[in-house]
């Protein structure tokens, strides 16, 4: 009985007024989160350039602020915030986290860290653990990425602790694209370099303020060329690479330049960047 009395002293009496207040706080929190998430995403999808990414960046931060505010309002209603009560409560929480909810809480904490450090934000093109795609939603526990194959992949935030996060555009509009070409060694490299640069300069998607670089790398089976250039918008990366590839093949083929015959161990799957 004594222990029961001690435990009930942790919690305040939840009369009807307190329950109503909690209900209102919960409802308002859910409503505000839904409105802010949908509203900011709607607005960001109608903006372009840097404004779009900055608006996307507000989405997780806004949700975090609303949730923290709800906690600050709700906790004193449920718990008498005395020192003894807080110590008891944290002790129980620590046991639960340690045994059963370790990874879940780790993801939650990583989610808070990601909202502050911004290793990724909606609109970013990231690669995490071999998954590449556009960040669509930064949730409490996971970050949702849409891959080029239109798959939605939910990646736990705890990957932040021990995995490299490759961010191709980092909240901006600059995303470098790479188009690769594998040519037979018998060709005039200087001409090819100029021709590939001209292919990039005549692309309708090219962003002129960013540099264009053609990199040539000699391999035993031939020469590996890469056009490194930037499209006007990160969402154009695939059509940009396609445009570079298609027109380069036409130019090189018209000049009689043969593709390399790659040995099996040098052949690699098509990637968006090398």
């Amino acid at each position: 009985m004594g222990d029961t009395e001690q435990y009930t002293k942790l919690f305040n009496d939840l009369d009807s007024e307190a329950l109503i207040t909690l209900g209102v706080v919960l409802g308002a929190t859910v409503l505000l989160i839904i409105l802010s998430q949908h509203g900011l995403n709607w607005l960001a999808n109608r903006l372009h350039g840097q404004a779009r990414f900055r608006t996307f960046a507000l989405v997780p931060v806004t949700r975090l602020i609303i949730q923290l505010a709800a906690l600050v309002i709700s906790v004193p209603i449920i718990i008498e915030p005395s020192l003894g009560n807080m110590v008891a409560l944290l002790g129980v929480a620590g046991l639960a986290i340690g045994f059963a909810l370790k990874d879940y809480v780790s993801s939650l904490i990583a989610g808070v860290v990601s909202a502050v450090e911004l290793p990724y934000r909606p609109g970013d093109w990231v690669e995490i653990d071999g998954v590449y795609g556009e960040v669509k939603h930064v949730g409490l526990r996971t970050v949702e990425v849409i891959t080029p194959d239109d798959d939605r992949v939910a990646i736990p935030h705890l990957k932040l602790w021990d995995s490299a996060i490759h961010n191709a555009n980092n909240g901006g509009v600059s995303l470098q694209c790479v188009a690769s070409f594998y040519l037979h060694p018998e060709h005039e490299a200087g001409w090819v370099r100029t021709a590939l640069r001209d292919v990039a300069l005549t692309s309708a998607y090219l962003r002129f303020e960013k540099p264009i670089v053609v990199v040539a790398e000699e391999q035993p089976w031939g020469t590996h060329y890469r056009i490194r250039a930037y499209p006007m918008d990160p969402r154009q990366q695939f059509v940009f690479i396609t445009d570079l590839t298609v027109r380069s093949k036409a130019v090189l083929s018209a000049a009689g330049i043969r593709p390399a015959l790659l040995p099996p161990d040098a052949a690699m799957p098509a990637r968006h960047r090398d």
Partner: protein, 383 residues
């Protein structure tokens, strides 16, 4: 000398002073015009189509005059003052190549034609479509180190493709080195911006007309009205729009807004002015019926749902100063069907018009299109 002084003080010459391209500044209110356009676009997002009721109210009583009536009331633009201004600045001995840069409707081709006749320069015609697709530059083979030549519109001499770029680069490098003699090149500002990035045009002087403010624009417009033109009133003030000999300054605010919305370019302002003229309906038979100026720049906005394909079409047309369908398909990374459907859709909406069998951006929509392209990080001109 007296004739030159008189010519220099006339309204026709007031807006024709040339300056270096890097020194061009648009008139006041240009940024305000852009914000107003952005605000109207945002309003359309939120409320759907804006202004249809107001637009209908105006157009119930007023109609757009036909081309024949406009030709009767308005005088054709004379580009001779621009040619003369270029002639004063031209020094073929000092610079192998000099550029005259104007935006769309700017009259650079017409001015170069006039200059070529006056200076006895060999006019280099634009290549055939086949030569254009293959990037052939046979038209420059006749030039030597002693030649004096003129190209009215360089944008007609290349396409944005690998062969086209390599050929025009070869031509410009030889021209700038003096190997082809000396010449003057008229070029659209968008084509020039593209060639600056893709080829590099350092060292060749590039001249452009000074931007017009509202007052100068009003004086110029006043010289373009024929004696048969009815009284021209501003729909905003219901007073005469233009300055007159008795000292009236007209609707200075409307004229400054027109100048600002057209970024100070005379050709664009002239086209926008014509597109904004309205006359009373057919049931009004009074002989002294005035002509109304109803600013249409605010209504001429790109739809909010403009997608990438439409912007690619608009950008390609601006870069080349207008293109026929076949050439347009050559420079776009989309299928022929997509390109033509996009072009037809834009023409139906009035964003594009046709001239010399080439589609180009309509003058009323030009500034809005330019603003949208700049916001999407497309390459835009310096004017």
């Amino acid at each position: 000398m007296a004739e030159c002084a008189a010519m220099n003080s006339s309204p026709q010459s007031a807006g024709r002073e040339l300056l270096l391209l890097a020194d061009f500044t648009p008139p006041e209110l240009t940024q305000v015009s852009q914000w107003q356009r952005s605000w109207r676009t945002a309003g359309r997002w939120l409320s759907g189509r804006e202004g249809t009721k107001a637009r209908s109210a105006r157009e119930k009583t007023l109609g757009q005059p036909g081309v024949d009536r406009l030709a009767h009331w308005l005088l054709p633009v004379d580009w001779t003052p621009l040619a003369r201004a270029l002639q004063r600045k031209l020094d073929l001995a000092a610079h192998p190549v000099t550029f005259l840069i104007t935006p769309p409707y700017g009259g650079h081709a017409q001015a170069i034609d006039i200059l070529a006749d006056a200076e006895g320069l060999t006019r280099l015609a634009a290549p055939s479509k086949t030569a254009l697709f293959n990037g052939e530059m046979t038209w420059m083979r006749s030039l030597s180190a002693h030649s004096r030549w003129a190209i009215p519109a360089l944008e007609r001499h290349f396409l944005r493709c690998v062969d086209g770029l390599q050929s025009v680069r070869d031509f410009l490098e030889r021209a700038q080195s003096g190997t082809l003699g000396s010449g003057v090149i008229g070029c659209d500002s968008w084509s020039y911006a593209y060639l600056q990035q893709a080829v590099g045009l350092e060292g060749a002087p590039a001249l452009t007309p000074q931007a017009l403010d509202g007052e100068t624009l009003g004086d110029l417009l006043a010289t373009q009205l024929s004696p048969h033109c009815p009284t021209l009133l501003s729909s905003r003030t219901r007073e005469p729009l233009l300055p007159d000999a008795s000292g009236g300054r007209g609707d200075a605010r409307a004229l400054q807004r027109l100048a600002a919305s057209c970024r100070g370019h005379w050709g664009l302002a002239w086209q926008s002015f014509q597109a904004s003229l309205r006359e009373p309906g057919a049931d009004d038979d009074q002989a002294d019926t005035p002509l109304w100026y109803v600013p249409m720049q605010g209504d001429a906005a790109l739809p909010a749902d403009v997608d990438d394909t439409l912007l690619l079409v608009l950008h390609a047309l601006l870069l080349h100063g207008g293109l026929d369908d076949e050439s347009l398909c050559q420079v776009l990374p989309v299928s022929r069907h997509e390109a033509i459907q996009a072009r037809l859709g834009l023409t139906r909406r009035g964003v594009l018009c046709e001239g010399e069998r080439r589609g180009k951006v309509a003058a009323l929509y030009y500034t809005g299109v330019r603003q949208r392209l700049a916001a999407r990080y497309y390459l835009v001109d310096a004017l």
